[in-house]
Subunit: 293 residues, 6 copies
Amino acid sequence: MFFHKQELHFHATPDQPDAVYARKLQEVLGGQYGEITVAMQYMFQGWNMHTPGKYRDLVFGIGSEEFGHVEMLATMIAQLLEKAPVGVTEEAVQSDPTVAAVIGGTDLQHAIVAGAGARPVDSMGNPWQGTYITASGNLLADFTANANAEMQGRTQVARLYHMTDDAGVRDMISFLLARDTMHQNQWLAAAAELRDEGTEKLPVPSNFPQSKEHTPVSYQYQNFSDGQRASEGSWASGATPDGNGEFSYHDGPTTSAEMPPPTHPDARFYGTTELPNSVEKMAGTAQDAMKRE
Amino acid sequence: MFFHKQELHFHATPDQPDAVYARKLQEVLGGQYGEITVAMQYMFQGWNMHTPGKYRDLVFGIGSEEFGHVEMLATMIAQLLEKAPVGVTEEAVQSDPTVAAVIGGTDLQHAIVAGAGARPVDSMGNPWQGTYITASGNLLADFTANANAEMQGRTQVARLYHMTDDAGVRDMISFLLARDTMHQNQWLAAAAELRDEGTEKLPVPSNFPQSKEHTPVSYQYQNFSDGQRASEGSWASGATPDGNGEFSYHDGPTTSAEMPPPTHPDARFYGTTELPNSVEKMAGTAQDAMKRE
Amino acid sequence: MFFHKQELHFHATPDQPDAVYARKLQEVLGGQYGEITVAMQYMFQGWNMHTPGKYRDLVFGIGSEEFGHVEMLATMIAQLLEKAPVGVTEEAVQSDPTVAAVIGGTDLQHAIVAGAGARPVDSMGNPWQGTYITASGNLLADFTANANAEMQGRTQVARLYHMTDDAGVRDMISFLLARDTMHQNQWLAAAAELRDEGTEKLPVPSNFPQSKEHTPVSYQYQNFSDGQRASEGSWASGATPDGNGEFSYHDGPTTSAEMPPPTHPDARFYGTTELPNSVEKMAGTAQDAMKRE
Amino acid sequence: MFFHKQELHFHATPDQPDAVYARKLQEVLGGQYGEITVAMQYMFQGWNMHTPGKYRDLVFGIGSEEFGHVEMLATMIAQLLEKAPVGVTEEAVQSDPTVAAVIGGTDLQHAIVAGAGARPVDSMGNPWQGTYITASGNLLADFTANANAEMQGRTQVARLYHMTDDAGVRDMISFLLARDTMHQNQWLAAAAELRDEGTEKLPVPSNFPQSKEHTPVSYQYQNFSDGQRASEGSWASGATPDGNGEFSYHDGPTTSAEMPPPTHPDARFYGTTELPNSVEKMAGTAQDAMKRE
Amino acid sequence: MFFHKQELHFHATPDQPDAVYARKLQEVLGGQYGEITVAMQYMFQGWNMHTPGKYRDLVFGIGSEEFGHVEMLATMIAQLLEKAPVGVTEEAVQSDPTVAAVIGGTDLQHAIVAGAGARPVDSMGNPWQGTYITASGNLLADFTANANAEMQGRTQVARLYHMTDDAGVRDMISFLLARDTMHQNQWLAAAAELRDEGTEKLPVPSNFPQSKEHTPVSYQYQNFSDGQRASEGSWASGATPDGNGEFSYHDGPTTSAEMPPPTHPDARFYGTTELPNSVEKMAGTAQDAMKRE
Amino acid sequence: MFFHKQELHFHATPDQPDAVYARKLQEVLGGQYGEITVAMQYMFQGWNMHTPGKYRDLVFGIGSEEFGHVEMLATMIAQLLEKAPVGVTEEAVQSDPTVAAVIGGTDLQHAIVAGAGARPVDSMGNPWQGTYITASGNLLADFTANANAEMQGRTQVARLYHMTDDAGVRDMISFLLARDTMHQNQWLAAAAELRDEGTEKLPVPSNFPQSKEHTPVSYQYQNFSDGQRASEGSWASGATPDGNGEFSYHDGPTTSAEMPPPTHPDARFYGTTELPNSVEKMAGTAQDAMKRE
């Protein structure tokens, strides 16, 4: 169960409205790595988790915080939109070029659809969608996904910091940056803990017996481009992070196989098959098949 | 530039057709973490990369390999579909219950749209889409995304291993598992190398000055759920992975702010505002505004 | 801010697993009118609302409840999936036709992607998306949207009631039905209250002066089909619900206008324009334009 | 069957082109509540309707009108785009700031894809999609959906009225506003008629026996937020609109249930399960399972 | 304007219900090449067309017919769903394996969402969307798109013919096949007429002066794969269909260019740039930039 | 297998950055008819093809080239974004109106998400998706789809030519135009060859026996609009392109059928059925049905 408290996790009030910036902030509200994504991702990980205790408490504890960040951003966006233009603007444009920027740069649905309100979309107006989240049931994979989400998120927020000089907005952003710092560290710590305590190992998923892989290629770097400098990296020689092997470097594939012959599905799919002579036969087949029906 | 060679990276021929399994394989061809995703993700990271050398050679070298895995899967799926049912099946169902499973479990567009061919969709028929990829320009974030993609991908392939006992299919899967093992290790190694050599640091993005964060909350675990066991984790006390702080545990938020008052955008957005008496005034405003036009 | 409590709003435990039914339940978790939709819809209405007080407290109070229903459904679905098939099944199918139904009827991503967990998708696997919600800022419109959402939702849940005879599932459904009954009534009451107290009127939006409409057609039923029985309805004669007019019935349109002549945009858009003789002229124009560049 | 007449339902000719406004109008052509939505929604309700007569004639009669409104808007948009810019614009921007607004504010696909023509998208460029419509077969629910669609639609059109001062555009808008007034009234009248004549009752769906709901909570307002003023509304006490009960107000949930224990699906899904000691056992299970295969 | 007549263009009544086949038919109602697509495509081509007369009358004349085909299919689907299962089915499955096929093979939203009605989706449940249509303003391109749509459509309908033996369904399909035959021929004839009368030429768009292309490669077949047999085709030598050149065959590219150096955008985007030493400089830049703010 | 070479197929370097134009170019990278579409389309046609030899070599040969064009565009876009604005811009806008155009006209995710890099989206920010491609297995249909794709693509590129005067960009565009010229010609030649050699015939699919169509309407133009000039076209009289018939012109439909009676699905779907008296009966049915459960 969720309980709502009519307070914000932190100040979220701009010094002045800015409808163009409101659109930019939508990215971290409703984008691929926005707050809706992390809130939903952590909660679904919790609901699907196969073990009680510290890890489940962790995703529930943070997932709920993230819904509060959705709220901070939505509240901020509504305020940034408070002077969103509704009237005829051509005249205004003539006398003030900044108006042109506003007209061109706003999310039109902020005005037309939401009446100067926030929306569950990204900065280009794409609706948030369920495919943004990851919850596989394997915690080492999922905590790596979470670390990535917080890294991408903090990067986007840092970029947004430079796109405004409104002190109120920057105040809120400084808070989000700090929380992203925390969460980034936290997921890396949690992923390390899974490995340290032996709950999970590399490669993910660790219980699948590697003997069933095609092991000759399990630690080969195969270079399908013509640049040679990847051979200099730690992924091209030396011990592997999973501790099970030794990297080697290969210029190009070490295996290959003939393409299998083209398929010949039922003639009633009407795919193009053979060249003239034989197509008569195929057509016959199709029409024979139909006669049998 | 890309050059195509009419060979496969590895055998991809089933022992026998299986249209239901063909649909399942679509997940790792055209799903969120399928081969199209990693191929596109690595290439876009390369095209957007701001530094030449080992890291760019790495993403180009692997990205091109992944396009070849798209090809292996598409070729395999076409063969699995070679006996996909097209004719009337009720009679067949009566005499053989496995036919019922086939009818219910296939991707109908494999037959109706593609004429027994592979499609750029996932196992539920959702088309592959550009939002599945990640390429931020920040390599530490992006290599973490890559590690996650390979972990999720290997987990899905491992599950698919158990959903067939066709030796030909399992042969191909054993190869994909091995390559996912390699790539998973490789991205972890590359992420570590970025940090070891000092190119990037934590928290991502590392050049943003932490002094501009709201530092009091940068390393606080704030628990928004009522489970207490997250306090036991390495994310709740001790040094942080970025080396810049010390984790602390807090039951609930350590900050809060009043909700700002509701916004009052232009009356011509026709949002509901005040209660009866004052709405007259608002309405007046709206109608006044219109008179002025 | 949101606080999570590790309890459910009501029992959500099936008597036994049923992976096919798990997929069906996804509709009311992540579908157009599922619980994610209403949770998000009510919260966005609150964050965008222009008036404090009873209406805002209402949407916050119910929106938070709905997130708890998302949780009940996700928890239920995970349990229904507890015996989801992973192994090879052909043999099983031969001996038990119900296995065929299970294979054909499950959400394949439940197994392959989520490892037997719930997902933010509908019963056909389409991801939840932000376009499902409505929050216009006009409360009479939005509460009508809410009443509709609860009506559609309760209808879907009632259908789902008949698709299982698992007592545990039906127990949870009986609870959801009751809450949908409440919410349906509540939004109708709230819409009525807006009108009774004069905060909003019909037609929505009520502050737009009807004198600026093309009033001759404001209350005309115009019949564009050839059935005549719509003339019998209360929408074809008598007073209108908004109290501002009188319905009238018309067989076909009462207005019409000539189609404007085709447009002639810049020749450099390369649209097909006039017939042979004149196209020379147009082409000339295009090529002249290019010469000027 | 549908027959097309090369006339418009009303004048749809702007006084002058305005490519920025063309984009705004796309919202009510191809958006969530645009004319394509209502046209498709009413026709699908008709095709799926289980009763002949006045209600089916109604949806067919209005659905066809709405296709004509799609046509009016598409025609208008093509004209607004007649001077859409195609050439190099930097020089023009230097001498006229309004050009900057045009460049930033247009739908780029109007020019690049459609060659100065209308498209089936909303004002942010999202394609129209089938999930926008509602047709459940239950007419009381669906007519409530229709009333909402017309309310949202009229609100959007009213906002668009203020975003132009082109007399030709406003003329068309005044017509659409009037028809939205009619349709809003009409669906409310039709919903009332369903209830008055006893065809449908509240709560929707009315034939589902309420005895099978968990009736103790059927009319309880349960407040999951900390605002108290929702208790003042007509939804918190007094008779319910469905006439079957009495509202009551409760601060927080009146029911709760323990979270069920975490699930333990097949080990071959490779979800993370127990902590170190027991994971050995689980892993064993997984590998045992594989040996049996 | 559109006028609806409560008759169908042809019989559309099945001999008996078949909920699985209802789902298959959705492909040609709401799929990429279904009837909604062609109806919308032709009408948008008409609304955007820059020339009055025979071509515009053609798209309007056929577009309206296609809306009638949407209606035929929706009506047929509703009838096929008339016995769609709603009740508990496990028992039924035990006694009749065909029930298993039904359960697995139906569109679950047909039952749960539409109450046994048609939906604007394809056979895998993906909603119809605006990106399926093509209307560029260039008629030679668009009529080629139309010919393709009718070819794909007829192929899908032919496949569907074999998936049923219901005489009523096949009767309707025989009609759709005939109309697709007509429309396929018609668009090819119309495309030929555009060229014959000189309204349009190849290559599309014909008014763009080929002198501005990089003409050395305008008629070169460049082979980027290792198969050699494409050299045997009429596209590898001889006169080109546009009459402007001569095909030639080349094994591999005839041009190439060095990759440009990596980009160096503003340091405040926090992309990874140079290796350790220089990153200090970059970081300095970023932090200097911030100090300047 | 694919091999990557770190060279471009042609120069792709702008004379100077232009973030607004970068967004426009996204259309031909990631739009409906962009380079990702043709690359994927041709490769999937190859992987699904049922015949080896010249046609399969053709799609593989060109498909791989198109991936190289994706690369050229991505590389160009990254360079055009090299000076994308990140800092606060209001001050700049005041002094230079072109800045306003830049702010309004850029793809915001280029900056916020990709850090000044290319993305797999179109010019309005919609992600590329798998539904853009066509691969039916029938080569005459698919090569017609390919011809259309190249026509639409060349039209879009021609429009983009006029939207810049950057010599470097135009250089690249001149190359893409030439390759589109080639590919357009090539697919038309290949489609003709299929017919000339008798591999495929019209109407597609040619093996389906026309005797099973409803032949009376196979070559009838039926006019569902009120324009008469379509009767003047070559599609209204004379021999048909497939050589099997003779076109005829008809004003309106030549067939019609009564609408079938409304359906009556199971009462437990809760659709609205009959008027008051009979609804009691229906309700009884529903409740009886429930009692039986």
